[in-house]
Structure formats: structure tokens, C-alpha cells
Subunit: 284 residues, 4 copies
Amino acid sequence: MSTSRLLIECPDARGVVARVAACIADAGGNILDADQHTDADTNQFFMRVEFEPGPGLTERAFIDAFRATADNLAIAFRLRWADAPARRVAILCSKSTHCLSDLLWRFANGDFPGGEAALVVSNHEAGRSLAEHAGVGFVHEPIADGDKSLQEQRLIGRIDDAGADLIVLARYMQVLSADFVERFRSRAINIHHSFLPAFAGARPYHQAFERGVKLIGATSHYVTEDLDDGPIIAQRTARVSHRDTVSDLVRKGRDLERVVLADAVRLHLEDRVLVSGRKTVVFD
Amino acid sequence: MSTSRLLIECPDARGVVARVAACIADAGGNILDADQHTDADTNQFFMRVEFEPGPGLTERAFIDAFRATADNLAIAFRLRWADAPARRVAILCSKSTHCLSDLLWRFANGDFPGGEAALVVSNHEAGRSLAEHAGVGFVHEPIADGDKSLQEQRLIGRIDDAGADLIVLARYMQVLSADFVERFRSRAINIHHSFLPAFAGARPYHQAFERGVKLIGATSHYVTEDLDDGPIIAQRTARVSHRDTVSDLVRKGRDLERVVLADAVRLHLEDRVLVSGRKTVVFD
Amino acid sequence: MSTSRLLIECPDARGVVARVAACIADAGGNILDADQHTDADTNQFFMRVEFEPGPGLTERAFIDAFRATADNLAIAFRLRWADAPARRVAILCSKSTHCLSDLLWRFANGDFPGGEAALVVSNHEAGRSLAEHAGVGFVHEPIADGDKSLQEQRLIGRIDDAGADLIVLARYMQVLSADFVERFRSRAINIHHSFLPAFAGARPYHQAFERGVKLIGATSHYVTEDLDDGPIIAQRTARVSHRDTVSDLVRKGRDLERVVLADAVRLHLEDRVLVSGRKTVVFD
Amino acid sequence: MSTSRLLIECPDARGVVARVAACIADAGGNILDADQHTDADTNQFFMRVEFEPGPGLTERAFIDAFRATADNLAIAFRLRWADAPARRVAILCSKSTHCLSDLLWRFANGDFPGGEAALVVSNHEAGRSLAEHAGVGFVHEPIADGDKSLQEQRLIGRIDDAGADLIVLARYMQVLSADFVERFRSRAINIHHSFLPAFAGARPYHQAFERGVKLIGATSHYVTEDLDDGPIIAQRTARVSHRDTVSDLVRKGRDLERVVLADAVRLHLEDRVLVSGRKTVVFD
């Protein structure tokens, strides 16, 4: 990655774009791409700027130069500098391995620049072989004696040890605690196997089959306290018919889930997603 | 239409396909297309056969010949004979005319063989000009003195006078009574402007906007007692983003609604839809 | 339309975004949206900026203020000021009226802000009734005595008389002269009924049927000297199967053509399309 | 697989459906699904019947019982009996492994009932690790001394030794000889990384990039003498924009290729594809 990315959020005001652009230019940066959005309900302004830092410009120097403008406009910002190391990603899964398999293939084949698979954690053994074949560490953290809380603490320990910055729930079938959610807010991506908000909760393909829908869907979203209710990052649908059994929906759905989860991971790793209340702004 | 269509429903049993095929062949008919489905939950069997009657074979004679087999296998059937007149269609609408306009264009241009627009009824005047330009009768039946029940009775009178066999609710924004629903069961098609079961009820595009979905949808379904819960005939989705306002969703949704409603009308007029409990079997 | 739009093209250089943003801010404008693209092959830079002019700022004053920057960076630009009148659109058609009907409905219902239907010209009478019902002037310009050149000159006269700025070929089935193409370069949009570059030329649905494709498509593009080879603005596809006859492809294709042509007209009227050699940059 | 499948091709004639259905019923079979198609150009009739054989009915006995009808109606047929062993599949690949990886995952996870991965052959070493991890034999058959003909003969030997019935070209980048094509006619499936017939031949993503299309596609087809011109089994498209580099097209295209190739393999293994001249009939 040879470009820096600046993500901005602030109350909307006249001239924000021009002032941010001027800051970057004055610091010797060259803007390659800038995208903006103002939420009409909250009047909150969002911006993503991708720029070449220019010779000699360091992250420290840029932040110092940008500070006054940021303070003045009440800007909250995140910066990923051009030479930042790849972000480490922890993948959590249970028994289904189609998303895990797909993600590992993509990491290995360069589909996710800016990220690297740091470890796979599962409450089952199903993913071990895939992880090991991909050269990624695998940790089995079963729920022992029904104590989910302890298991989650061990899981968090593993994630911290691995220095993971992004958590990907690749069909991880355990509800996460409020603590976990808070700790990884806007950094934990889940895939739900329905077109949310339809068929939230358990067994969405069974629900879809019962209802007789003509399309099934998949939804990737950030994890929040409310199950299947976090800000949506990506969604896709596929056609089904009366001929499809629940097993057929599961099979067709797997193709959706893989791509929709990979979409979200890529968008996140490219710093293209900002959370705005219950929604996302996706600068793609 | 030069072919006859036989629609069958019965408990599943060995040899139904062969016995029905034999009946048609023995009567001098030639099967052009046959499609079957067995509902795995109810073990109910559904079949659609399209056949050329053969020289001299009349509807009466065929029914007489088929009766014994039908009785023997407990078959309920519908028959549309090759020379049947076009079915008459009543279109109900309110203020939005995009679906009405689209349907009238399709009727006029031969997109719906086997059907003809019989009349347009509305609780508003908005559709009059379109209907009259298309040479289709327009009736304004407003809800006077807040008495919806009387208006609905007049509406049913108009439909009966026009000899309409299919009712298309082209964004008709009034809830229909249980009587109406019962009278036109599996013959009244509604378009709902969301991907059901998500966003049932009022203002689905507002709901979709609030939830921050990345796809919007439209659903055509038969009308039942439960609002927006009837058997689904067709669904489609389209991409949206954080940039889209509610107005944009409405605009993009119109394109979906038109096509999804037209899909359902065409499938119904071609006798391709059978109702199976809460679901449809669509032989397309 | 309450915002101004500035479209820019120039050789790529450091700081263009910042300098343009500064120009607008210094003139009292407030940038609402900015989008950029650099063509990697030609190193040409493209930008679209949407901004509120700010109180008292006139088009003349802005151009004067922008001139120096434009000259300095070799910027070619187009400006559409906030209070500019709707652009007038001439629709050309032949015998098929599905696109015409759709466009007229959209103009009448506010789907194309910034544009108005100025007139319909056709070498056939088929569109007259639709145009007149929509309150849009209709002109029949048949090809008399086989003299296409004279007909085209009369056609151009009609377009000029109507003050039309955008030409929409809504299934107009005549090849246009080099003169016509030059006169309306990047201002004449055609719909071709295939997924170009597949099935260019005559009878694309027949070609698609012969080849046995499983998807059909439609393509909207700017008209150039080379038939069906102009810069593509929008494309969509739809599923077909071995069951579909050529007539079915034509019917299904009409739904694609309407939407793909409307997409292009809307994008053009919102100043979202820039031509870059054989391609378009679409800032949507 | 507990059902038998009968695939039929013959000149169209009155009563074929009924007579075939009667044959199956008389032999004690129960038809679960029947699908038919008549090619309007050639008047050739195609049919696929799926049936339960019934107690005691053997393949041999059924063929004997069916022979007279088949001869009488000039029916060519293929039969796959309920207890037939899984068909063995040879996967050929070169350096790109995304399709190989996907196919192996699907075979291992039961996505392709009726088939099993028999071996992987490649002119490169890239696929070895994946194949071995999946427990599938891997054979490296490089083109030595530029002698493609010898390599192909060795390759055919490997396929024969493995008893493979279906050949899947999972991005195998070598042109096959007429001999090879003839030997595996309608049993060798290729994936081409474009929406054929657009961008046949080499480097289709580069061609698509040059042309500036707004959709890319992938096509699976049976291999014939004419490169990229065989009967199409499945196609899909995905949206792209001016922002996408050739690398982005390649990345997005991989997702299409995997699914489109898997679609074709599944349809073939379920005996749902019949070749009709340059086209396929796909009974899905």
C-alpha cells in the first residue's frame, strides 16, 4: 500500500472539503481520491481521502499539521499511513467451513491487500485442517462445562495475543457478550445467512423456506448488542423456486455468504466503511 | 392461444404423471409441456400440462374423458381450453400510476396474451387520463363520508359488471375486507414495495432507509386476509447505497415494482401459478 | 436544481483536487460532493464537483475566478450553474415505442430533474399518440424517395428549432451520418438491444438466440461514427433459457432496454458522465 | 442417488410424452419429474425424466422394456440408474487455482452428489498442494520440449487410468487437439472468463477493460473444435466501473468464474444438460 487514507467525521459545515484538501496539499500530499457524504437526518459529515504523502512527509508531521483544522471543525479522524503494516485478522468459525475456506484462499492469493490472516479460532475442530494447510494458526476453544463466559475470555486472550485488529465471524454460531461487542465495536464483522432484516435469528433458510420467498439473501454487518441488527455493510440475493428444498437454499446460500462476507472484509481493510448510527457509509 | 392447459392438484401417488398423460393421449391430445412438483411437507402433488387438443376434441369431451381418472386419484383440476376467450383484468390503483401505466402499455402491446384490460378502478382521479388514452374504461370510486365498506361494494359491482376474472392491485393503497379477499382468492395480485417479509406494512421505503439496507426489493403476491402475507409469486431486488435518499429509493423501487407486478400478471394469465398453502408453485 | 456542477478534465498533476477545492471555497462556494478519476493509460484526470454557490455568487463571477487555475492546470471544464434552465431533450424513435413510452412517463413524473422532453421525431407515425398524450410535440419525418440525407437535414432542423441539447435514440432504427454524429458528439445517446460488444449490428436478439446464450443484455452508449461502438454508459443483463423463443427475448429485452436507456439519460442530465476516449467515466 | 434418470432425444411426434410415461409406469416406475423441450428450428424433441424404479426393477429389465418404444419413435437415450456409482471427474488446471480450490471444496462438502473428484492434472505445479490436501491425486504433466501433442497423450492416459467420465477445465490454459475434443465430446466443460461471445480468445479482461464495458461475465460451455464457441451451459455477469483496473476485473471475475463453472458441473452431474446443435437444453 503506497497511499495514505484519512477518514473524517464531523458536523457538516461550509468549506470542510476545501479545508481538508488544503491541509493535505500544504503538507505536500497529493489527493488521489476523495469521497464525501452528509447524513441528512443527523447533519453529520463523512469523508474519505486517499493521498500520496509526498516525499519526506511522515505520519507524525501530517497529524501535527492537521490538528488545528481538526480541532477547529470538531473533526474526529482515523489515519492509515502509506507504510502501515498489514492489519491482522482473526477469523472465528464453528462447524461450517465454507466462509473460512474462502477467506483463507483470498488472503493467500492477495485478494485482501492491507490485511493478513492472523489466526483461526473455533469452538469446534472443523476448521483446523484448512487453517493449517493455509499456514495460519488454529486454536480450538470449546465451550467447556457450558461456561460460555470463560470460553469467550480465552477467545479474547487469543485474539489479543495474535494482535488482531479485525474480527471476522465466518459463521461463528455463538452469541457474543456485551463486553466482546464493546471491545471490538466496528471491528467485528458477521455474516448472517438471510437478507436482513428478514429472517433474523436462528435457521434463516428454514424461515425462508416456510415463507416461500423467491429470493434468498446474505448480509454482512458489524456486530452490535442486538443480534443481527448491526450496521449493514453488504448484501446480495439469489433466485430460488418452489423446487428448492431447505438443503438447496443452504447450498445456494453458501455462495452468497462467501462473497458477501468477503466484500465486507475487503471494504473494511481498504478503510471504505464508516459507521453512522445504525447504518454504514460505504465509500466504494 | 392454440394450446389447452390443465392444472392439477392431488395427494401424491404412484403413476399420476403417466395416468394423466395417458388420458390426454387417449383423448387425442398431444402434450407439449408438462411440469410437476410435490410439496415435501404436505405430500401434495401439483402438475401443469400444456397440450394441443387434436382435431375434433372439445373441452366437454375432454372433461368427460378425464373425469374417471380425476375421481380415482382425488384430483382437483382447472382447465383452460385452447379457444378460451381472453381473461378480463380489473386494475385497481390509487395516486401512483407507474404500475398502471406499465400494465396498460403491456396489454396494448401484446405482452399479456390470454388477458385483456377490462377496466381501471381507483379511489382517485390520477389514472383516468392513462386509462382513457389506452381505451380502457376508468371508474372513480372515492371513499365517500369515510365509508370504506360501501365504496368496496361499489367497487365489487364494477368488477362484476366488467366480467373481470383477475384483479390487479397496482399500488392500490386501501386495505381490502375479508369478503373481498374471499371472493377473489388466488385471483387478486398485489405489489408490495419491499422484499417481503422485510418491511411489511406502511412506508416500506422509509423503513428500508432507516435500517440502512444495501438492496431494496419488490414482491408480488396473492392477496390474503393477512396484510402483505399472501403467497409470493415474484420478487426482485436492486442495489442502493448510503447516497440514496428515501426519494431515490422510491424512484429505483418503481422500476422494480413495475417488472415484478408484470411478471406476476403474466405468470397468472399463462396459468403457471398454483397456490400451495402459504406458498406458490410457479411453473415457469 | 439548487446546486452547481463543475466538470473538469486535465492532465494529471499534483494538487489538482486541492486547488479546485480552494477556488470554489474562495469564491464562497460549499462543496457537497466531489468525485475524481485518473485514467491509468492516458494519465488524464477527471473530476466532478457539486457545490452550493453561496449567496451572491454568479456564474460569470465564478468563471472569472476559476479562469486562472484552469489555465494554469490546462483544465477543460463544463459548468452547469444552479439556476440553469432544464435541458431540452429530443427523442427519436421508429416503430417500437416501449422506450419512448417509458421516457415520456419518466419526464412527466419527475424522474429526470434537469431535463424536459422537447419533442419526439420519428420516421414513422407510431409514437404520435403517446407524444401527444404526454403533451410533447411530435414530428413525423419519413424518409421520402429514399433520400435519407434530406430527411436527416430536416430532422436536424427540427432538433435545432426545439432548442434540444440532448438527443435520445429510443430505438431509432436509422444509421446516422458522420455530420449528425459530429454535431451531437457526446450529446446523443443510443440504446442497443444486446450486451455489447456481443451482437452488434442488426437483429441482436436473433443473434443471441442462434448462439444460445443464457443471458441477454442491453447497452446505452454515446453515438459515434462506428455503429454500436461508442462509449458505453450503462449495461444490464437478464436470464434467459432454451425455452425462450426470439419473441421471448424481444419481450424480456424490452424491460432491459427501458431501464438501461433511462439510466443513461438520468446520468447524463445529472452531469455524471464524462467521455474518456472510447470509454466513459460515470460518477454515480 | 435413489432415482433413475432417462434422457431422450428424437424427432418430435404426437404422443411421445405419453408413450414414454406409459413405458415407465408399465415397468413399475414412478415419475417424479419430467421436463421436455422441442427445438423450433430443428423440430427435435428432448426430454428428461426422473423416476423411482420401483421394487425389483433392474436397469437391464427397464432397457429391454423400453427398447420397442425407443426404436419405434427413433429415440436416442441415455439412462443413469438409481444405484449407479458416482461419476469420476478429472480436473485440469494451469497456474490459476481459484476454480480448482472451489471445486475441490464442493466435492469434499457434498455439493456435487453423483460425482467425485478423481484426479487433478496440470501443466504446472500450482495445484498440487490443494489437491493433496483434499486427498485427490495430482499429476504434473508439463509440456516438455514444446511437444504439446505428447503431453496431451500422456494427459489422456492419466484421465483414462483414473476412469474419469467428465473433464473439467478449471482455467486450463492450453488449446486442446481435435482428437481430445472428439474423445470427450459433451463431456468436457470449460470456463471462459468473459460473457461469450464477447471477448473470446486471449486476455478477455484486458479486452473488457479496453472496451469500457460496465459488466463483466463468465461462461461455462462444452468444449468443441472452435475455441470458446461450444454450447453454453451457464453465464453470469457482475458490475464494474471506470474505477476498476484490469486487476480488479480479474479479481471480480474470479468470483463469477467459480460459481459459473460449479453451476455447469452440478447441472452436468445431475444429467440436466442436453446438447442441441450449438446450444444446450438445460432442464433445471
